[in-house]
């Protein structure tokens, strides 16, 4: 079982948090802070597993994380999950984001956290891995987006126009925080499929 999925940036700002068990908002924030604290002080070239913190987990739980450019992707899992499998799952997740957002960067996650949730929902459901095949995930996500578009129809057009106008004054926002080396896989870790 996966207990929680967290994405935060190099400064510990949460970009996505998905808890598959109930915590109060305050505890959630503490968990994010603690996890960030644990993960961020680790070097780049150390292993991607660490025993969970005080708040989340216990001896049966592990934090499995990956660091891409400015973002940390952290999964808190129990012993029924394969460690390397989860690492691959994170890779699949990021690659899927990359496909869905076309060259994903932190800003995409910042502004479209709902979409990230929707993508994640196609991969993990209630703490259990639902689908690991990237094409299948993308297909389902696209199909749902298409449905959304068709529902918006003409009524949605003005809203989209406004949003486009709003987005025009974004020059100060850097678009170059690309998660560049997304295709680089961990050596000796052949892809799952």
């Amino acid at each position: 079982m996966i207990r929680a999925i967290l994405i935060f940036n190099n400064h510990g700002k949460p970009r996505l948090s998905k808890f598959y068990e109930h915590y109060t908002e305050d505890t959630e924030q503490q968990i994010i802070r603690e996890t960030f604290h644990l993960v961020s002080k680790r070097d780049e070239n150390v292993c991607n597993f660490l025993e969970g913190g005080m708040l989340i987990g216990g001896s049966d739980y592990k934090l499995i994380y990956r660091h891409y450019a400015t973002l940390y992707f952290v999964f808190c899992v129990d012993s029924s999950e394969s460690e390397l499998g989860i690492l691959d799952l994170i890779q699949v997740f990021v690659e899927t984001l990359d496909k869905c957002f076309e060259n994903v960067c932190e800003l995409d996650l910042i502004f479209h956290v709902d979409k990230v949730h929707n993508i994640l929902a196609e991969m993990v459901m209630g703490g259990m891995v639902l689908e690991t095949n990237m094409n299948e995930i993308i297909m389902q996500v696209d199909a749902q987006n298409k449905m959304e578009k068709s529902e918006a129809g003409i009524a949605g057009a003005p809203a989209r126009a406004v949003s486009a106008v709003k987005n025009m004054n974004l020059p100060e926002m850097p678009r170059n925080i690309n998660i560049g080396d997304i295709s680089i896989k961990v050596p000796n870790l052949p892809s799952f499929k």
């Binding site: 079982m1 949460p14 996505l16 948090s17 998905k18 598959y20 109930h22 908002e25 305050d26 924030q29 680790r42 070097d43 070239n45 150390v46 292993c47 991607n48 597993f49 660490l50 025993e51 029924s80 394969s82 460690e83 390397l84 499998g85 690492l87 691959d88 910042i110 502004f111 479209h112 956290v113 709902d114 949730h117 929707n118 929902a121 459901m125 209630g126 703490g127 259990m128 891995v129 639902l130 689908e131 690991t132 095949n133 299948e136 389902q140 199909a143 749902q144 449905m147 529902e151 918006a152 003005p158 809203a159 406004v162 709003k166 987005n167 961990v186 000796n188 870790l189 052949p190 799952f192």
Partner: protein, 1273 residues
């Protein structure tokens, strides 16, 4: 209206959407909280509007704010509103918000039930999908109960997308509503074989999660998972299954044996590290579960260790980490194989990665020996000094203590060294493990008597320097060691050099800043010290010294009397009064020392931690009963104040035998001293290099302030334990030298110490004698303590509720079927009613299955069983209503009296667990597992020879093949065997078959007539009375040549349950084809010559002589299974059928036509189906007089009666009706409705079977077959 919509959408344009909110927050970095609070106000406004789009937008923003830590539960109702929008866009937003912030105590959840149900049945698969996803996050027990049935329906949805989600969410439903597990399980199991890999994976996922918590309930699924494991290519699924097997093997070692080979193959073949790693892990689990001594296993361990070494040596830190993790599992059972990699592990201790260092630390535990313990601990102590984070340092600390204390201090040769290590560890700043060090100190001091003098000296110094430990309040944890120090000094104060000094140290005002429980120990032990001091002072001439000591106590104790801690206060005031009294006596010049010390006399023995719990309650003692008359209500009220005191924390005081008179005590003490003096191993204050400081003269001559610098603690900076390392080395060298001298006295040449050391080579464990022999006192346990370990299971574990027996669930007679009460709740009342109303026409199959959603599964067999089940349930209902009056009529309705036993038994199955059913269950799995061979070497050699022979003369093999088909097709007793049918024969099986073949050559005749499945695996000769049933197998070799092997599994009859189609009986035969050559086998065609009586059922449209095309091809080494259905007319005689298998062997360049002949053998017992029978019905049946009688005697049957019965049940498909001592009545029914009743009696080795049946020919044949079964034994 239209205008309103336009207006609404224009308004919406200028509402903030999520992106605007995020942008806004980013632009208000300084006053973020303020900005967000205005945003929340806006959102509140938006939520008040009617426009659902506006609401959805607001909810979307709330979801974001929730992530930032804002409580949005106030908007729960609005979220429900958005969830119930008809538009997918908004629905999705609503469900997302709900999944993020709803939980069990959200009260509006109960409003969602109907909405969710509507969404679940929506024609749009994404509506359903979104609802399932959301529900998986916030499902509550109520929702689970109300929706379980809907979700179960979705498990058979046409779209795999929905199916997989529905399957997955079932786990959450089970957790919240455990009652749903039994009804849903059959379908879940079905999904393991879903055509869609995603659904299959989801089902595997769910079952693995379930099985992880309660593995024993899922053992019977092992064959199915085994099949999946050998056929699946999805690594996710494989990993899950392999992990599951890891959880199952401890329960069933035979499963492990079966697994080793396929897993080893996977290890060799897979390129995915994740899979390799899990395989290694499970192989380790298997090896742990197996008792050692099996010849092949050392190879498996070697393989694992070797693969793990590769992982550890890898540059990838992840693999290194996992390698170490798995290594630590091997360590527990096979420490030797890990120890050879000590170099690697020690190297990992220096890794820069903390996670890896921690894992390496775990491994160190098994690396230590008497020889290297000091060295390793020294290394760890260096790490402790260097360590930065407190977590890692704490971890190091616990590991050092673990390593040293493991298996009762087995590896410690020098306890002085260990005490020094512990003392050194007290210098750690900010550790949380002070109590751990303390308990070690106590443990060692109490149990290692020889070390007490040294320990006391060390503790005294610790107490003296307590300010170093407590100086900084942040280092709170470590002051726990003072607890131990004070206690040791007090308890063993007779060993103190300078008790007065220690007493003073213990009464310093600073002590009052320590935590209460430590102060309490201080006070109590100050009193002990006081008694010791008094004794020594009274012995010496002047009485003033003693009076001064009393005065000191009286001066200092009031400080503690004022303590806020009750315990401290109470003890202090007690002791203060005592000392005052003593002082009074002293002033009268009365000798008091002896009396005072009597207060604390007696030895304290260590008690095992669980000892108290293990004391068995004496017979006849009812702990809950009142000892006196129960007090009246009013009295108990009066007594309440007392209860307050009773609740107080347990005191640290000890129970003592204070009544022992002084003389006795003195005698004992004298005796002890004598004993110690005579004990050569007891450390006396003898001159030894490191104990010079002990040679100080009488206590009173030492100035109080003088500190002996040789006591290690007082030399800060110089780690004192190092001394011991050096000393130890010297000592060992000396020992070696001594030994050598003795051995080679004649050799006079002396070598230099260094040279000697080099030459002596590695010393063996035994060579190292402990520095001082220590008597490690074992902990006391009550004499008749029960060895059982109490389960430390968490009673709140939600998985406990899921510990539900699922084996009996599979629809069949004789087991505990689903009771009506176990059905999932359904909404429609009407439907439920229909199901319960009596069915008058008696044709159960036509009744719609209203209680359970109709299965869309195409498996007609399953369907049939279901009907059967339902049928029975209905019969039961009917039965209850018409119990006496309409019995006969009812039988007619149900299609003949044949069904009567079924009906009857139904009433009992829920209450009475028939022994046969459990036996059958065991043997069912047993029989799958029994394929693991236990070959001896000679047999193996013979097997090889036999195979070679067979290979060289394929024709001959085919010729002899018919001999091998005498294992008659067995009717697997019950339908559960379904699971066992999904089997594959692996090479092990092959071996066994070969072996069997070889045996056949010897026992040809024997086998020909007998075999009732008495396989090689049936170790009947060895079974004892209470032993578990020997495995029984129904596999038999049908035919084999160099290309292919056919094995016939037990035949499984499927007949019409109505029993009215006298001619429509069917027999299903499962045949496993295994490719033995290196080429592809294809176009296999299976054909038999139909006899008048038995016919192969061929696909529609084919002629009576066409073969049955086997629907698969066989690549090299692969096996697969096909099922053939035969129609049988008469079942009273055994049948034989000749058949041929034709196939094409395809090589790279050529293809050859080949054929293989075989004979199929249907015995009479294979026409019997296990049918449970209630004893009343059985008696009635016997009374009816329609049955013909016959009997048979079996001589020299050497097996326990229950094995005998199990064997009859298993091989001949009977069920036990009743068993009284060595007599049992059994029942079975043929597929055409013949009753067969047996009365089995045993006396000594003779078994007599009286049988009755309405068809004498059938009975005769069945009895013959039973006789054959046992004549083999």
């Amino acid at each position: 209206m239209a205008l309103k919509i336009v207006k609404g959408s224009i308004d919406r344009m200028f509402d903030k959407n999520l992106q605007d909110l995020v942008r806004g927050i980013r632009n208000h970095k300084e006053d973020e909280a303020k900005y967000i609070s205005t945003c929340i106000d806006e959102i509140k406004q938006e939520l008040k509007q009617d426009n659902i789009a506006v609401k959805a937008n607001a909810v979307c923003k709330l979801t974001y704010l929730q992530m930032l830590g804002y409580d949005v539960s106030w908007a729960a109702f609005n979220i429900v509103e958005v969830m119930s929008s008809s538009k997918f866009t908004y629905k999705r937003i609503g469900y997302l918000a709900a999944s993020q912030c709803f939980h069990e105590s959200t009260d509006v959840i109960m409003l969602t039930t109907n909405q969710i149900r509507k969404d679940l049945s929506s024609p749009n698969q994404y509506d359903t999908g979104v609802a399932l996803t959301g529900l998986s996050c916030f499902v509550t027990p109520d929702l689970a109960r109300d929706l379980a049935n809907d979700i179960m329906t979705l498990m058979s949805h046409t779209k795999p997308y929905i199916r997989k989600k529905a399957v997955l969410i079932m786990y959450k439903v089970f957790l919240k509503y455990p009652e749903s597990l039994r009804p849903a399980f059959p379908r879940l199991k079905e999904k393991l074989e879903d055509p869609d890999p995603g659904v299959q994976s989801a089902a595997v996922n769910v079952i693995c999660e379930l099985a992880r918590r309660n593995p024993k309930n899922y053992l019977s699924l092992a064959p199915l998972f085994f099949k999946l494991m050998t056929s699946s290519t999805n690594n996710w699924v494989l990993i899950k299954i392999i992990k599951l097997f890891g959880a199952l093997t401890p329960l069933e070692p035979r499963l492990g044996k079966k697994l080793i080979e396929p897993l080893t193959n996977l290890i060799h073949s897979t390129s995915a590290m994740s899979l390799l790693y899990e395989c290694v892990n499970t192989v380790i689990a298997v090896l742990i579960s197996l008792s050692s001594g099996m010849p092949n296993h050392s190879a498996s361990i070697q393989l694992c260790v070797q693969k793990l070494r590769i992982l550890i040596e890898d540059s990838d830190q992840n693999l290194k980490y996992l390698g170490l993790l798995a290594m630590s599992k091997i360590l527990k059972t096979h420490p030797k194989s890990v120890q050879s990699h000590k170099d690697l592990i020690l190297q990992c201790l220096d890794d820069k990665d903390e996670s890896i260092r921690l894992r390496a630390l775990d491994l160190l535990y098994g690396m230590v020996s008497k020889k290297n313990l000091m060295e390793i601990v020294k290394k760890l102590m260096l790490h402790v000094d260097k360590a930065e984070g407190t977590t890692y340092r704490d971890e190091l600390l616990t590991k050092i203590i673990d390593i040293c204390s493991q298996s009762n201090y087995q590896y410690i040769t020098n306890f002085e060294w260990y005490i020094s290590i512990l003392v050194e560890l007290t210098r750690l700043e900010g550790t949380r493990h002070g109590h751990l060090i303390a308990s070690q100190m106590l443990d060692v001091a109490i149990r290692v008597k020889a070390i007490r003098i040294f320990a006391v000296a060390q503790m005294a110094t610790l107490l003296d320097n307590a300010h170093l430990l407590t100086g900084n309040m942040q280092r709170n944890g470590i002051c726990e060691v003072l607890y131990a120090a004070a206690w040791i000094c007090g308890e063993f104060s007779e060993h103190l050099e300078n008790p007065m000094q220690t007493l003073e140290a213990m009464l310093r005002p600073k002590v009052a800043t320590l935590p209460g429980h430590i102060q309490a120990v201080y006070v109590q032990n100050a009193a002990k010290l006081f008694s010791t001091v008094l004794k020594s002072q009274e012995g010496s001439t002047e009485g003033t010294a003693a009076q001064e000591t009393s005065q000191l106590m009286i001066d200092r104790l009031p400080l503690f009397v004022q303590s806020a801690n009750l315990e401290v206060q109470e003890r202090a005031s007690c002791i203060l009064q005592l000392v005052k009294y003593i002082q009074k006596l002293q002033q009268k010049e009365v000798e008091v020392a002896e009396e005072v010390s009597a207060l604390f006399a007696g030895e304290l023995n260590p008690v095992a931690p669980k000892a108290q719990k293990k004391v068995p309650v004496p017979e006849g003692l009812d702990l809950d009963a009142w000892i006196n008359e129960p007090p009246s209500e009013s009295e108990s009220e009066d007594e309440q104040p007392k209860a307050i005191f009773a609740k107080e924390e347990p005191k640290h005081s000890r129970s003592r035998h204070t009544e022992v008179d002084e003389k006795e005590l003195a005698r004992r003490r004298e005796a002890r001293k004598q004993e110690q003096a005579n004990n050569p191993f007891y450390i006396k204050a003898s001159p030894s290099s490191q104990k010079v400081y002990q040679e100080s003269p009488g206590v009173e001559h030492i100035p109080v302030v003088q500190i002996d610098l040789t006591v290690p603690l007082k030399v800060p900076g110089l780690p004192m334990s190092d001394q011991y390392l050096k000393l130890e080395e010297e000592r060992r060298q000396k020992e070696r030298a001594d030994k050598k001298k003795k051995e080679k006295k004649k050799r006079k040449e002396k070598r230099s110490g260094r040279g000697r050391r080099h030459d002596s080579g590695p010393e063996s464990e035994e060579d190292i004698t402990p520095a001082h022999m220590v008597d490690i006192v074992t902990e006391e346990m009550p004499e008749n303590a029960l060895p059982s370990d109490d389960d430390d299971k968490d009673p709140n574990d939600p998985h406990k509720a899921l510990d539900i027996d699922l084996d009996n669930l599979v629809e069949s007679a004789g087991r505990r079927p689903l009771a009506d009460s176990e059905k999932l709740p359904v909404r429609s009342h009407r439907a439920a009613k229909v199901a319960k109303s009596p069915v008058e026409d008696g044709d159960a199959e036509n009744t719609p299955p209203s209680q359970e959603p109709k299965k869309k599964s195409s498996k007609e067999k399953r369907e049939k069983k279901k009907d059967k089940d339902r049928d029975r349930k209905k019969s039961k209902e009917e039965k209850k209503k018409k119990k006496h009056k309409h019995e006969e009529k009812e039988e007619d309705l149900l299609g003949g009296e044949a069904d009567e036993p079924v009906v009857q038994s139904e009433d009992t199955t829920e209450v009475v667990a028939l022994p046969t059913s459990t036996n059958a269950e065991v043997s069912d799995l047993d029989f799958w597992l029994s394929n693991a061979p236990v070959p001896s070497n000679t047999q193996e050699a013979a097997t090889v020879a036999a195979t070679a022979e067979a290979d060289s003369v394929p024709e001959a093999t085919s010729g002899t093949a018919p001999d091998s088909d005498h294992d008659e097709p067995k009717n697997s007793e019950l339908e559960e065997t379904k699971s066992s049918k999904h089997k594959k024969k692996k090479q092990k099986k092959e071996k066994e078959e070969k072996e069997k073949k070889k045996k056949k050559k010897h026992h040809h005749h024997h086998r020909h007539h007998s075999d009732g499945g008495a396989d090689e695996s049936v170790q009947n000769g060895t079974v004892e009375d209470e032993e578990p049933l020997p495995p029984m197998s129904n596999y038999c070799l049908l035919a084999e040549n160099s290309y292919i092997k056919m094995m016939m599994e037990d035949a499984d009859e499927v007949c019409d349950i109505q029993g009215n189609l006298q001619d429509g009986s069917q027999v299903v035969v499962s045949v496993i084809f295994e490719n033995k050559c290196d080429s592809l086998l294809k176009s296999m065609e299976f054909n038999v010559l139909d006899s008048l009586n038995s016919k192969l059922q061929r696909p529609e449209g084919s002629g009576p002589h066409d073969g049955f095309t086997v629907p698969f091809q066989l690549p090299p080494g692969v096996s697969n299974e096909a099922r053939l259905v035969f129609t049988v007319q008469s079942i009273v005689m055994p049948q034989k059928m000749k058949g041929t298998l034709t196939f094409i062997v395809k090589n790279e360049d050529s293809s050859i036509h080949e054929k293989l002949d075989f004979k199929l053998h249907f015995t009479c017992t294979s026409y019997l189906i296990t049918t449970p029978c209630y004893s009343d019905a059985f008696a009635k049946l016997l009374e009816s007089g329609d049955l013909k009688c016959s009997s048979v005697r079996l001589e020299e049957v050497n097996m326990p009666f229950h094995h005998l019965l199990a064997r009859i049940c298993f091989h001949h498909h009977f069920s036990v009706v009743e068993r009284i001592d060595s007599c049992a009545s059994m029942y079975s029914r043929s597929i055409q409705g013949h009753h067969v009743c047996l009365l089995v009696k045993t006396s000594g080795q003779t078994v007599s079977i009286d049988a009755k049946c309405d068809e004498p020919t059938l009975l005769g044949n069945v009895l013959d077959e039973i006789k054959q079964t046992f004549s083999q034994c």
